[in-house]
C-alpha cells in the first residue's frame, strides 16, 4: 500500500509531463506540423533550471516556491489516500500563491493576468468543489476508501470536469488568464528561469491531482486492467480538451464564468437530482 502510494507520488507528475508533450504533439499534428519531441516539456524544465535566475523581489520567489510546495502536499495527500476535501483546499492554496506572486510585481500585464486568474478560479473551483462533494456523497471522502461505481452513478460530473480541465490546461476557449497575444503569459509574465520552472512544476502537480480525481471514476478488475482503464479515461478527457482547444476561439472572461456557473453547476445538479429520484422510486 505504502509502496504503491510512493509510486503514484513519483509517477504522477512524470505522466503529466508526458501528457503535456503528447498535447503539444497532437496539437501540432492537428495543425499539419511535425511538432516537438514527446519529452519536450522535460527539456523546457531542464533548460529553465539551468538559466540565470533574475527575480524582482524575494517575495516573488517565495510565492513561487509556496505555490509548488502546496501543490506537492495536495498531491502527496492524494497519493496516500487522504481526504478529498482537504486536498482540494490545499490545492486551491497553491493556485492562490500563484496569484499573489503575480500581484507582488509592479507589471500591469502581471496584474491583469492575476485578476483574470482569480476569475478563472471563480469559474472552475465551484465545479471542482461540488464534484468532490458529489464523490463524497457516494460513500467516502477518503481517496483510499472510494469504491468502484462512480462512472455509472455520476457520469455527468465527469463531463462537468472537462471544462475544468480545459481551464487548468490554459486552453481556448477558456485560456483567459494566460491569453497569449493579449497578456503575453498573464500571471507568469514576470517570472524567468528557475522560478518559472518551479511554477510549471507546481502546475504539473495541480494537474496530477485533477487527473487523479478523474481516474477515481473508473476501476478495473485486476491491477493491470485497472491502470490501463484509468490511463485511457484520462487520455480521452485530455484528447477532448485538445480538440476543443483547436476548434474554438477565446471567449471573454464574463462568458467563461457564466458558462461554468450555469452549465457546469447545472450538470452536477441534474446528476444529483436523477440519483435522488432513482433512490426515492
Amino acid at each position: 500500500m505504502i509502496l504503491s502510494s510512493i509510486a503514484i507520488l513519483l509517477l504522477g507528475p512524470l505522466l503529466v509531463g508526458i501528457s503535456m508533450g503528447l498535447d503539444r504533439k497532437i496539437t501540432a499534428r492537428l495543425q499539419n506540423r511535425r511538432g516537438p519531441p514527446l519529452l519536450q516539456p522535460f527539456y523546457d524544465i531542464g533548460k529553465l533550471l539551468s538559466k540565470q535566475s533574475l527575480v524582482l523581489s524575494d517575495l516573488q520567489a517565495l510565492f513561487a516556491s509556496f505555490s509548488l510546495i502546496f501543490h506537492i502536499i495536495a498531491f502527496a495527500l492524494f497519493a496516500f489516500g487522504g481526504n478529498l476535501l482537504v486536498i482540494f483546499f490545499i490545492s486551491s492554496m497553491g493556485a492562490i500563491f500563484l496569484v499573489l506572486g503575480a500581484y507582488s510585481t509592479p507589471s500591469p500585464y502581471s496584474h491583469l493576468g492575476a485578476n483574470r486568474e482569480l476569475l478563472a478560479m471563480l469559474a472552475y473551483e465551484p465545479i471542482l468543489f461540488l464534484a468532490v462533494i458529489a464523490i463524497g456523497m457516494q460513500g467516502s471522502f477518503l481517496v483510499g476508501e472510494i469504491v468502484p461505481g462512480l462512472l455509472s452513478h455520476i457520469p455527468l460530473i465527469l463531463i462537468a470536469l472537462l471544462p475544468v480541465l480545459v481551464i487548468l490546461l490554459e486552453k481556448s476557449p477558456f485560456d483567459v488568464p494566460t491569453a497569449h497575444q493579449e497578456l503575453v503569459t498573464g500571471p507568469y509574465v514576470e517570472y524567468s528561469g528557475p522560478y518559472l520552472a518551479l511554477l510549471e512544476l507546481g502546475h504539473w502537480y495541480q494537474l496530477a491531482f485533477v487527473y487523479g480525481m478523474i481516474t477515481l471514476f473508473i476501476w478495473g478488475t485486476g491491477i493491470t486492467s485497472d491502470i490501463i482503464l484509468k490511463l485511457v479515461l484520462a487520455f480521452i478527457l485530455l484528447f477532448a480538451a485538445i480538440l476543443i482547444d483547436n476548434i474554438t476561439a477565446r471567449l471573454t472572461r464574463k462568458s467563461m464564468v457564466a458558462f461554468m456557473l450555469t452549465v457546469g453547476i447545472g450538470l452536477i445538479a441534474l446528476n444529483l437530482l436523477i440519483l435522488y429520484i432513482i433512490e426515492v422510486i
Partner: protein, 147 residues
C-alpha cells in the same frame, strides 16, 4: 551541469524584435513558426517575453529610437542568451549606409552571435542561423559557469 546545458539546446525560446525593418524579414521569421518550416521541431516557440527568451531574432537596421529599447530588451534576457541578426539590414545596415537616423546594424548596440545575410533572409538560411546559434549554446553556458 553538463547535462542541463545539453538540454538547453533542445528548448530555445524565441524573442523576435523588429528595429525598423521593412517587414520582409519579419514575414520570413513568421514563416518559421508556421506549419511549413515549423521551428517547434527543435523545441523553439515564440514567447514574446524577454524574461523567458533564449534566442533573440532581431530584424532591421536599428533606428535611433529603437537603440535604447533593444539594449533594454537584451539586458532583460537571463544568461545564457544568443543573438541572431536576421537579414542584411540587421547585419550591416546595408541599404541605410551613412543614414543619419540608423545605427547601421545590431552589432553596434548589442553583441551578435550569428549573422544571417539576405534581403529578405530566406527561411532556410534563418533555420541554418538558428541551429548554428544553438551550437554556441553549450560554449556560452560553460563560460558563464567558469566566470
Amino acid at each position: 551541469m553538463g547535462l542541463l546545458d545539453k538540454i538547453g539546446t533542445k528548448s530555445p525560446w524565441i524573442l523576435h524584435f523588429d528595429t525598423g525593418s521593412c517587414n520582409g524579414c519579419d514575414l520570413e521569421i513568421w514563416a518559421l513558426l508556421t506549419p511549413k518550416y515549423d521551428v517547434e521541431r527543435f523545441g523553439g516557440i515564440n514567447r514574446a517575453n524577454p524574461k523567458q527568451a533564449d534566442i533573440l531574432l532581431i530584424t532591421g537596421p536599428v533606428t535611433m529610437r529603437c537603440e535604447d529599447r533593444l539594449r533594454n530588451l537584451y539586458e532583460q534576457v537571463p544568461e545564457p542568451k544568443l543573438v541572431v541578426a536576421c537579414g542584411n539590414c540587421a547585419s550591416t545596415g546595408a541599404p541605410f549606409h551613412n543614414c543619419y537616423n540608423v545605427c547601421q546594424g545590431v552589432d553596434k548596440v548589442i553583441p551578435v552571435d550569428v549573422y544571417v545575410p539576405g534581403c529578405a533572409a530566406c527561411p532556410e538560411a534563418l533555420i541554418d542561423g538558428f541551429v548554428r546559434a544553438l551550437s554556441l549554446w553549450e560554449d556560452k553556458a560553460r563560460r558563464r559557469e567558469s566566470e
